[in-house]
């Protein structure tokens, strides 16, 4: 916009901001810097640990993709000014319901998945409705749901099957049309070819001899990338995205100008539930079983990824790309420490430290944007 810059230069009192500061006030900054640092460190100290072989890359990509799926939902919800602490329990609950419908009751897998999805979306809507109607902090409301859902996830399989893990999902999903959308792999032909020309290593012995060690991109990763792109476009390129920012920035101000704040918040709770269900479905398809303890602490991991990605806990500011990078950092470090042979409990120390840094950086950035001192 040439005319805009001409107008801006008209006022001599407006200081020219340096490129550095201009770049600093992007929500993704922390995520970008963190990603570079993390990759640099692991390339330097763990390059020969197998972490960057095709199998290693696939390993941390999958872990990162898991974090990404729930981080996208948590990110949009946090920008809209709310939290959902029931994400982890929702993952356990959704997986268990798929197993109960699909295995115990013997429904076709597509029906089990869709019924579960309908249930979780309804629970997400309930979360949102309670928060919007009562005006209570979403922290408390979803904390209640965290316990309620986890309780049912443990109680139901014990009641029906007298155990807390239900297996046999892979067999039940055999030949189903919907299940491969979560448990399948794409580009298998491409990977086969890459194995043949020696781009990626192949198995030398056993039943899979000659096949590439990585035989395709799991749908989990496709979902993660799809959701990140969807979230980013929704947030930055649509009017609904503007409403998400507005609802979290100042709900009262948004209402004054006619933004349907309640609807926006409820929809974001539903979307978070959707992401949790996608996560759960991919997980049960991969493992072939549903466990009552699945998804434990995932709500906090999602929130940490979002905060590392530059979103403000108070809402109204953040980035989906940032949250995705936060999830990538998360996955790379968790798996990288494993490859590097570092004691895995130190991962938690790392998490706490990086979270603290991220929050301090975010607060500083917020002060720069709003001009507070």
């Amino acid at each position: 916009m040439p005319d805009a810059t001409a107008a801006a230069s008209g006022d001599e009192r407006i200081k020219k901001r340096s490129r550095f500061r201009e770049a600093l006030i992007r929500p993704e900054l922390g995520g970008i810097a963190g990603t570079i640092v993390v990759f640099a460190l692991f390339l330097l100290f763990a390059h020969d640990s197998g972490m960057f072989s095709s199998q290693g890359v696939m390993n941390w990509s999958q872990v990162s993709a898991q974090f990404m799926i729930i981080a996208v939902g948590a990110c949009l919800l946090m920008i809209a000014g709310e939290f959902d602490l029931s994400v982890g329990s929702m993952i356990g609950f959704a997986g268990m319901m798929i197993a109960i419908f699909g295995v115990t009751l013997g429904w076709p897998m597509w029906l089990a998945i869709l019924t579960t999805l309908a249930m979780t979306l309804a629970i997400g809507a309930l979360n949102g409705l309670i928060v919007v109607r009562t005006g209570l902090p979403s922290f408390i409301v979803t904390l209640a749901l965290l316990f309620i859902l986890r309780g049912f996830t443990i109680f139901l399989p014990q009641l029906i099957e007298r155990k807390t893990i239900i297996g046999g999902i892979k067999e039940a999903a055999e030949g189903d049309w919907l299940a491969p959308l979560f448990g399948g792999k794409i580009l298998t032909g491409l990977f086969q070819w890459m194995g043949e020309i020696g781009l990626i290593s192949t198995f030398e012995r056993g039943t899979r001899a000659g096949q590439p060690v990585v035989d395709g991109i799991p749908m989990l990763i496709v979902w993660a990338l799809g959701l990140v792109i969807f979230g980013q476009v929704l947030l930055t390129k649509t009017r609904f995205g503007n409403w998400i920012f507005a609802a979290g920035g100042d709900a009262q101000a948004a209402r004054y100008t006619g933004v349907p704040v309640s609807r926006v918040k409820i929809l974001m709770f539903i979307f978070t539930a959707f992401c949790a269900t996608v996560f759960a479905t991919c997980q049960v398809m991969e493992f072939g079983s549903a466990g009552a303890d699945r998804g434990l602490l995932k709500e906090f991991e999602a929130i940490i990824a979002v905060v590392i990605g530059g979103a403000l806990l108070t809402g109204g500011y953040g980035s989906v790309i940032g949250a995705a990078l936060g999830a990538l950092i998360f996955g790379v470090v968790q798996q990288g420490l494993f490859f590097a042979g570092v004691e895995s409990s130190l991962f938690r120390v790392f998490l706490g430290v990086i979270l603290l840094f991220a929050v301090i950086l975010n607060t500083y950035i917020r002060r720069m944007i709003t001009g507070e001192r």
Binding site: M1, D3, A4, T5, A7, A8, G10, D11, I14, R17, T236, K237, T238, R239, G241, N242, W243, F245, A246, G249, D250, Q252, A253, A254, Y256, T257, G258, V259, L312, G316, Y317, R366, I369, T370, G371, E372
Partner: protein
Amino acid sequence: MANKKPIVEMKNIEKHFGSVIALAGVSLDVYPGECHCLLGDNGAGKSTFIKALAGVHTPTRGEIYFDGKPMHFDNPRDPIIAGIATVYQDLAMIPLMSVARNFFMGNEPVRRVGPFQFFDHDRANRVTMEEMRKLGINLRGPDQAVGTLSGGERQTVAIARAVYFGAKVLILDEPTSALGVRQTSNVLATVDKVRKQGVAVVLITHSVRHALAVGDRFTVLNRGKTLGTALRGEITPEELQDMMAGGQSLAALEESLGGTI
């Protein structure tokens, strides 16, 4: 002005909160292109009166006419749709969001791409810069966050937004109360520009000087009652000040303070 019809008429508005009579029959009318100042001390009922017009309070008694038609405003959306915009002290602005995003909040322009609708950022940015320049504010860019603007500039964004989205009546609730001298004069100049575009302005203030600077007519409220409406030139600042103080002469006090109020 006699040959024009008022755009808003409020007749004998009463508002009771339980046993408290906040407004005991207040009337006011505004013409297009006029700045009507509503003066009064704290607690005089200015805000209650204006909230009746803004749809926040439903009056206990009395009538509101807009463009000659009787209106019943039950919620803040109704007046906005009719063309009555209120710029509150807290401004309905979100500091973390850019000026352009704030400007179009709730009224985002969209661009169709196939079956999808996208926020038309180019148009939003262009219009925002244009409208702000018209009112004498040079933004660093449309993506500048509202939080970096001064209080006066934020008022101007809020006013520009209301006018751009077709407000015929603009209610300004104490727009100058928290501003410095320079910023106050900027906001008053904005009011003047907006009025010349044919918008009716209701300016609420307790500063006689600010009212006299831009007002065409002045209505003084005291303890829930109106003490009459005066035309510009018919009334002196001292008289206005005395009316706001409830008819008691401030002369004695003024003397001892050396004429500083």
